[in-house]
């Protein structure tokens, strides 16, 4: 049963558009899936390989701009950005990895944080190429209907899920975990830590980049403040994984569900007004205090808590 769970969930998601959800629900679902893709990619680098990145907006933005620039400068469909950004973001991650992966722990985190900001400022000032703060607007989006966008992002998510699952269960995955647990010990055992960290960074970056390219196609408008945002992209990515569960397969999904769907519901509660952020913040604090390994990571604990309530109630 457990073995087939991913396939069952995939099948359920695949029939969702057929039952006729409103476009509003579809939009939220698309965002949930897009964020879970970004969460999964972060989880590979941050969760399994232990390299906590505060700069995933850099990859997201480079992916988004690959699609955007193809459209604005080369008159191609921005959908070509999806395959092309694999190459572009991989090269970008190699260059960036060469610099930031020499650093460890908090220094790595700070360097990645800076890299995201550097990319934002670059995109703002490189006006001839990126359009600067005016951004890139795609005049006609491919479809008005959301069904196709939904399936495309669903396929991306499914492929990412299975790829990361395979990767983590392979020898490579053990190398990643070894690096996370003790980088010096891993090195003394003959693991080329720089190489494997670079591999993790590249894969993670490329997946995030694909999500970015999808964002351009789906939203039809990008500017540096939107796609290279420190808070709205980099930090939210980390929150998704933290809330869902670091180094778990399902964590990013649960995290994205909470960070997007639940956030949207709380935002929509009439009468709560601007206080919804406070309310949501308290919810997050409660989750992090009582379930430090995230909802998936502390699922047993969560079950116990709920069970206790039932027993006493």
């Amino acid at each position: 049963m457990k073995r087939y769970l991913p396939l069952i969930i995939l099948a359920i998601l695949a029939v969702l558009p057929v039952i006729g959800l409103s476009t509003y629900m579809m939009h939220i679902l698309i965002l949930v899936i897009m964020w879970s893709v970004i969460g999964m990619s972060w989880n590979l680098l941050g969760g399994y390989c232990g390299q906590v990145s505060f700069g995933h907006a850099a990859y997201f933005g480079v992916g988004a701009y690959t699609a955007g620039v193809l459209y604005s400068k080369f008159d191609l469909s921005p959908w070509w950005g999806l395959p092309l950004c694999v190459v572009v973001v991989a090269l970008f991650s190699l260059v960036l990895g060469f610099i930031v992966l020499r650093l460890r722990g908090p220094f790595f985190a700070l360097a990645t944080l800076a890299s995201g900001e550097v990319m934002r400022i670059t995109a703002e000032n490189w006006v001839d190429f990126t359009g600067g703060t005016m951004g890139i607007l795609i005049q006609r989006r491919t479809w008005v209907e959301k069904t196709w966008y939904f399936y495309i992002i669903l396929i991306i998510a499914a492929l990412t899920f299975f790829m990361i699952k395979k990767l983590v269960e392979s020898k490579l995955g053990y190398y990643f975990v070894a690096i996370r647990e003790d980088q010096d010990a891993a090195e003394s055992l003959g693991i080329n830590t720089t190489l494997y960290k670079t591999i993790a960074l590249c894969i993670s970056g490329v997946i995030t980049g694909i999500a970015g390219a999808f964002y351009t196609n789906y939203m039809g408008y990008i500017d540096p403040h939107v796609v290279f945002a420190l808070h709205d992209i980099s930090i939210i990515t980390i929150m998704i994984v933290m809330v869902g569960g670091v180094a778990t397969f399902w964590g990013p999904y649960v995290g994205a569900l909470i960070m997007v769907l639940l956030a949207e519901y709380i935002r929509s509660i009439p009468g709560l007004g601007a206080a919804h952020q406070t309310f949501f913040g308290i919810l997050l604090i409660v989750i992090i205090i009582f379930l430090p390994n995230g909802i998936v990571g502390d699922f047993q604990k969560l079950k116990r808590l709920v069970g206790l309530r039932r027993a006493s109630g």
């Binding site: 939220i28 703002e124 703060t133 408008y221 009468g271 808590l305």
Partner: protein, 396 residues
């Protein structure tokens, strides 16, 4: 803890399922606005202004007898949330038109959805030029785009000051850079020579090195694009250095708000600035709105508030004229809009590469006796402009 979490879950569910019940003769309008995050200051001001307008409209009998009931959705300044709100308003709430949001990027996200779903959208503050350059049929904009922000000041300079040279000082942000670039092209167009064009870091405390350079160049006009602290500091140091020119001009923002005069004191005297609106403007209702806002919230609103306030009056006008309240008829009525509001005359036109854009004169304000007065264009002036301005040593 258990009980607490139970209570929380209960509150949450209660919140979800208790949608307030309204009487059928209400017109409900949900407005997306950034109520949290970095743009919340402007979102709040707009929210208050919408509320003032709704109250006035309801007191006067509502729209076609229906009471206006406003609600606000927090878009947090994020385009994807703005889009979610737009989808919800169209799909779930079946709202026949959309009004609002603050930033250009959020307005663009909503505009694309509105066009695809054939629902009229009234842009209230998004100023990026390209929002109304996409051949959108359902997107209307009441505020002038950034390219027109300094047009009033330019016409004042051309007709009154007739300067030959100009020095431009601006802060290093997009707002500052685009304002300065715009002024450079405008100056080139009328044959004005740019002697100095200097960028400074926002929040600097000593402008004297830059200002000495300006003094040496002896320009006819000094044009500055800054926020409030820099604006007043610049003018104070200009006074200290006794730099005399024909005109000191500011590009809206920091120069156009009352804090500028409070901080710069007498150094602010005679400084002119471009602005989209001011409470002193002679548009009908502008002063009343400004004073009502000040009475309620303790400060005069900036043009953002006036835009929001007027937006609701446009909605009222459009809905009164529309044959039926379907998106199609509302669009037709919107297109035919020709009215006066507290923000100025509103008419949606297709020209100069724009569609459904409201073109209007931007104003020029001058500080006269420690107060901002509207001096240009002359038909809206609340006071005659003071020109030529006295040299520093002749001032008391």
């Amino acid at each position: 803890m258990k009980r607490l979490s139970l209570v929380m879950v209960f509150c949450f569910l209660a919140g979800l399922f208790t949608t307030p019940l309204f009487a059928a003769d209400n017109f409900e309008l949900s407005i997306p606005l950034p109520l949290t995050g970095g743009q919340a200051k402007f979102g709040e001001m707009e929210k208050k202004s919408y509320e003032i307008a709704a109250e006035e409209i309801n007191a006067a009998g509502g729209i076609k007898g229906k009471k206006v009931v406003l609600s606000f959705e927090d878009s947090q300044g994020k385009p994807e949330i703005s889009r979610a709100i737009a989808e919800k308003l169209i799909d779930v709430k079946k709202q026949p038109l959309i009004v609002g949001d603050y930033s250009s990027s959020s307005s663009k996200a909503i505009a694309a959805v509105a066009e695809e779903r054939k629902t009229p959208y009234l842009v209230v503050t998004g100023a990026a030029d390209d929002i109304t350059q996409q051949n959108y049929k359902y997107v209307f904009r009441l505020n002038p785009s950034t390219a027109y922000y300094s047009s009033g000041l330019m016409s004042f300079m051309n007709e009154v000051v007739k300067p030959k040279t100009i020095a431009i000082l601006y802060e290093s942000s997009d707002f500052g850079t685009s304002g300065a670039k715009d002024m450079e092209t405008q100056a080139a167009k009328v044959g004005m020579k740019v002697l100095v064009s200097e960028k400074y870091e926002k929040g600097a405390v000593d402008f004297k090195p830059i200002l000495s350079k300006v003094k040496a160049a002896q320009p006819d006009v000094i044009y500055m694009v800054s926020y409030v602290m820099d604006a007043s500091l610049l003018m104070k140091q200009i006074k200290e250095l006794r730099i005399d020119t024909k005109l000191f001009a500011g590009g809206a923002a920091g120069f156009a708000i009352p804090e500028f005069i409070d901080n710069a004191k007498d150094a602010a005297e005679y400084v002119v600035t471009s602005s989209l609106w001011c409470t002193m403007a002679t548009y009908p209702g502008a002063k009343e709105y400004g004073e009502k806002y000040k009475k309620l919230y303790g400060d005069f609103p900036s043009y953002h508030g006036a835009e929001a306030y007027s937006a609701l009056y446009i909605v009222k006008d459009v809905l009164t004229r529309a044959k039926s309240w379907t998106p199609e008829d509302i669009r037709t009525a919107m297109k035919a809009t020709d009215m006066m509001t507290a923000f100025g005359p509103i008419k949606f036109e297709d020209r100069d590469g724009y569609q459904n854009q409201n073109f209007m004169d931007t104003l020029v304000l001058q500080v006269i006796n420690g107060e901002h007065h509207c001096i240009w264009p002359e038909k809206y002036a609340s006071k005659k402009y003071m020109y030529p301005i006295p040299k520093w040593r002749d001032r008391k």
